[in-house]
């Protein structure tokens, strides 16, 4: 089976674009990715589009209505916060299967100033929120973090340090929603949303889009590999049954399974990675995923953040883009944007935030419900 390469990739600066609609945002990112690859929409043999909040509204086709209705097959994916990674993987799968040599992947979302996510549904009867605990995302991920505290004594301050780091990283990323330092006392003193997550420890609701052009090895060689990035592993898992997952979504087991499969597929281990973009939807989540991805042993995540090993310049930099906490989290775009970040470092084009000599990077997303997507990317 052919290796798959990223030939072109780009993203819009994450932010608020109330004057534009979802297809327009997706179209802008698609054109940027095509330009980055030096290709045209007529060269694309299929489009894989990830969008969550308009999942029934044919967003991929509407993007083609903006940039060229070439009649290619369009697949619209929706997989909670793993939506972008799922679309990317659909494109990867099609090339692996030998169906196409060139495909376009777009992840796009318009969040506006969406409030707290989750807690909907309920059906008939009375609302359960606040009577039977909380189903809201800040509470769900706070409880997941408290499980780590229970096991290992991880403190509010440890979790808060994640936010300090990721906001610091974002000061060097012009495509991040925010570029501001947030000292520890500011993070810990911010409005408490769901203990131990303060407002600055929750991801930012933003609009955004990212897109990639994927190619088969044959096509990549034909077009020139100079800036191409090899996709060494593409993995998607769902959550296996675990004891408490009816009431406490388990983001750990599906990530551990995905990581194990991805390292095996790529023929590498976590110590070989030069950078990681992982799903810091809340500061608590990043701590869990240090261990889930094998960046440290179980129980050592707090030590990892204490010793600044995951800061830029540390042993294994995590979320040098600023992460979801500062760059922002436009659900369907997130899983393509983190591939953009890693590719940009592997290409040596990350400017002030460049991880020097980066050869191998990993991206990770979690969609609650649950889906875990992991990609391992390699400089060639």
């Amino acid at each position: 089976m052919s290796d798959v390469y990223v030939l072109g990739i780009d993203m819009l600066k994450f932010g608020r674009y109330p004057e534009q609609d979802v297809p327009e945002l997706g179209a802008r990112a698609a054109l940027l990715a095509l330009d980055d690859a030096g290709l045209r929409i007529q060269d694309m043999q299929a489009l894989y589009c990830g969008n969550l909040l308009q999942a029934s509204a044919m967003v991929g086709q509407r993007i083609l209505q903006e940039i060229g209705q070439t009649g290619i097959p369009v697949t619209n994916s929706s997989n909670a916060c793993a939506t972008g990674a799922t679309a990317f993987r659909e494109g990867w799968t099609a090339i692996k299967a030998g169906l196409y040599d060139l495909v376009l992947v777009v992840g796009v979302e318009q969040m506006g100033k969406a409030g707290l996510l989750g807690g909907g549904g309920g059906g008939r009867g009375i609302p359960k929120e606040g009577l039977l605990g909380s189903q809201l995302m800040p509470a769900v991920f706070a409880e997941a973090g408290m499980e780590h505290s229970r096991k290992y004594g991880t403190s509010f301050e440890h979790f808060a340090m994640v936010s300090v780091k990721n906001h610091h990283h974002s000061t060097r990323n012009p495509k991040s929603m925010y570029q501001m330092e947030t000292p520890l006392e500011q993070v810990m003193g911010a409005e408490m949303i769901a203990y131990p997550n303060t407002k600055l420890m929750c991801s930012v609701n933003v609009d955004g889009a990212a897109a990639a052009v994927l190619a088969s090895e044959r096509k990549a060689r034909e077009l020139g590999l100079r800036r191409a990035v090899r996709v060494k592993a593409s993995v998607l898992t769902s959550d296996p049954w675990t004891e408490r997952d009816l009431v406490m979504p388990d983001v750990n087991t599906c990530t551990r399974r995905a990581a194990r499969q991805a390292y095996e597929m790529a023929g590498c281990g976590p110590s070989d990675l030069d950078l990681v973009e992982l799903h810091d939807c809340f500061a608590t989540a990043e701590i869990l995923h240090y261990e889930n991805l094998g960046l440290c042993a179980d129980g050592e995540a707090a030590k990892l953040i204490d010793e600044r090993q995951t800061w830029h310049g540390g042993r294994i930099p995590v979320n040098v883009s600023g992460g979801l906490l500062s760059k922002g989290h436009p659900l369907g775009a997130t899983g393509v944007a983190n591939v953009y970040e890693v590719c940009t470092h592997l290409r040596g084009e990350a400017g002030a935030r460049q991880v020097e000599g980066a050869k191998l990077g990993l991206t990770h997303v979690i969609g609650l419900g649950s889906a875990c997507g992991i990609h391992i990317l390699e400089r060639i």
């Binding site: 707290l116 807690g119 008939r124 009867g125 009375i126 609302p127 359960k128 929120e129 606040g130 009577l131 039977l132 605990g133 909380s134 809201l136 800040p138 509470a139 706070a142 409880e143 408290m146 499980e147 505290s149 229970r150 509010f156 409005e191 408490m192 949303i193 769901a194 203990y195 131990p196 049954w241 004891e243 408490r244 009816l246 009431v247 406490m248």
Partner: protein, 142 residues
């Protein structure tokens, strides 16, 4: 009960809260006879092992221990905050989520692993038809 008529007593807030005509309310689990996994709410197939038969209703305990919690400060409009959202492992199997009450919403006071009891109370809100609901919550157990 004819449609539209008010129920004679409170309705259960969730389907797995059972209100027998005689005796006290309780939480009901569905236990898989093959792998022993415990679920909340009706089901015919086990999500843990895939068994299609051997699932049976079981009365869950009213005692358990606090597994983890969070203190919710920001919720939907109209929901009183702060409150403690708690995950409780019931003695004998089954894990449920609910509010932990009868304790200050303070990380210094709440101990993960502390024993708790399930208590049943009338919910403070009614539905649009005016029906009352019975809900459950957790209180610390000495």
């Amino acid at each position: 009960m004819p449609e539209g008529a008010a129920a004679p007593g409170p309705l259960p807030i969730v389907s797995f809260l059972k209100i027998p005509t005689q005796g006290d309310p309780y939480l009901e689990g569905i236990r898989c006879g093959h792998c022993r996994a415990v679920f909340l709410g009706e089901r015919d197939v086990c999500a843990s092992c895939g068994a299609r038969e051997g699932l049976a209703a079981t009365r869950l305990a009213n005692t358990g221990t606090l597994y983890v919690y969070t203190i919710v400060y920001r919720s939907f409009p109209g929901v009183p905050v702060p409150y403690v959202s708690a995950i409780v492992d019931l003695d004998g199997g089954g894990t449920v989520k609910g509010n932990l009450v009868g304790i200050d919403p303070d990380p210094q006071k709440i101990q993960m692993g502390m024993p708790v009891e399930v208590v049943y109370r009338t919910a403070p809100i009614k539905d649009r038809e005016g029906n009352e609901y019975l809900t459950y919550c957790f209180v610390p157990r000495a």
